[in-house]
Symmetry: C2
Subunit: 190 residues, 2 copies
């Protein structure tokens, strides 16, 4: 787990580590990522209500590459099968971003959260890596049973969130929150 | 402030007091309150998107008593003017509920929060008293700058929330959250 620097989130003032959030230092160019995202969304719009998503990684031979992985886990193929860069993204900054990670990624998606909405409180099967592309101080993750709040900063790094714990994400800002989210073989324990 | 028992919310395990939440023991009958609410909503529907509200207290002589107080503070009369029971509620359990408080209330409203929505992060002018009528473990207040999460239990008591701190409320459940909310001359400090 040497890729992950464990950070103290809500409990910072107590010096305790919640085990909920880790950081992978990537040094991505957030402006370039935002520009690549704008370009992409002008060609492929976000189509879902609330959980608006677009696939960065796809399954080989998919007939619906942009959206096939964008449903609930129970309704799609095993997450690890979405492991190839969407062919249309070759040569874009997304290719560089995916390659920058120190571990292989799967089911990488662009994920938008609309103003004044939140996800149903849930657990995921695995932890998730998040890179904030466009966000504010008012769009945190809330670990409901742990009473923890964590904001992913748009600082060019990836944050490993232990989303196997009961959680939601909310957007209390008036602007869209845009994240890159990916799966990876990383256990959120040291 | 002898009416308020200060409770430890998110920091319970540390034994510290956040100063964000207090409780007023009222011993209300939540089932009776839920039934009175059902009766009321069958006659006067909730009309707003997201912040669906209905006025329990009104201004004398209002021509739109049910909804006049249900806009943002900047768009309505001073909150303290909404201090009379809505005439149609005389003889209902709502009359008893308002009278049960040890301090005068104003701008008491029924407030619904739809599944998978949250309010814009904001501060209120004053603290607020909340009585949960219908809620779940997945519909907390989030004090965004304080990294605190608090769920109002549907236990027949009123909770004084220091909503002058930056906050939102979210509903990550699949059911409607229904609260009674009121203003009162209570300073959320001891």
């Amino acid at each position: 787990m040497s890729h992950v620097n464990w950070v103290v989130s809500a409990r910072e003032e107590n010096g305790s580590d919640t085990g909920l959030v880790g950081r992978i230092d990537l040094g991505l160019d957030v402006d370039e990522l935002a520009k690549a995202t704008d370009d992409l969304l002008s060609r492929h719009p976000l189509i879902f209500d609330q959980t608006q998503q677009l696939a960065i990684q796809v399954r080989p031979g998919s007939t619906d590459p942009w959206y096939e992985s964008c449903y609930q886990e129970k309704d799609i193929a095993p997450e690890r099968e979405y492991a190839e860069l969407n062919p249309e993204l070759k040569g874009t900054y997304f290719e560089e971003v995916v390659a920058r990670f120190p571990v292989p990624l799967f089911r990488t998606r662009l994920l938008a959260l609309t103003s004044r909405t939140c996800y149903s409180v849930h657990r995921d099967e695995t932890s998730r890596l998040h890179v904030a592309i466009q966000t504010t101080e008012h769009a945190p993750f809330v670990f409901v049973e742990r009473n923890e709040v964590f904001r992913v900063p748009a600082d060019g790094n990836a944050y490993l969130l232990n989303t196997t714990e009961v959680h939601t994400a909310m957007n209390g800002a008036r602007t869209l929150r845009l994240h890159l989210v990916a799966g990876a073989e990383l256990d959120p324990s040291r």
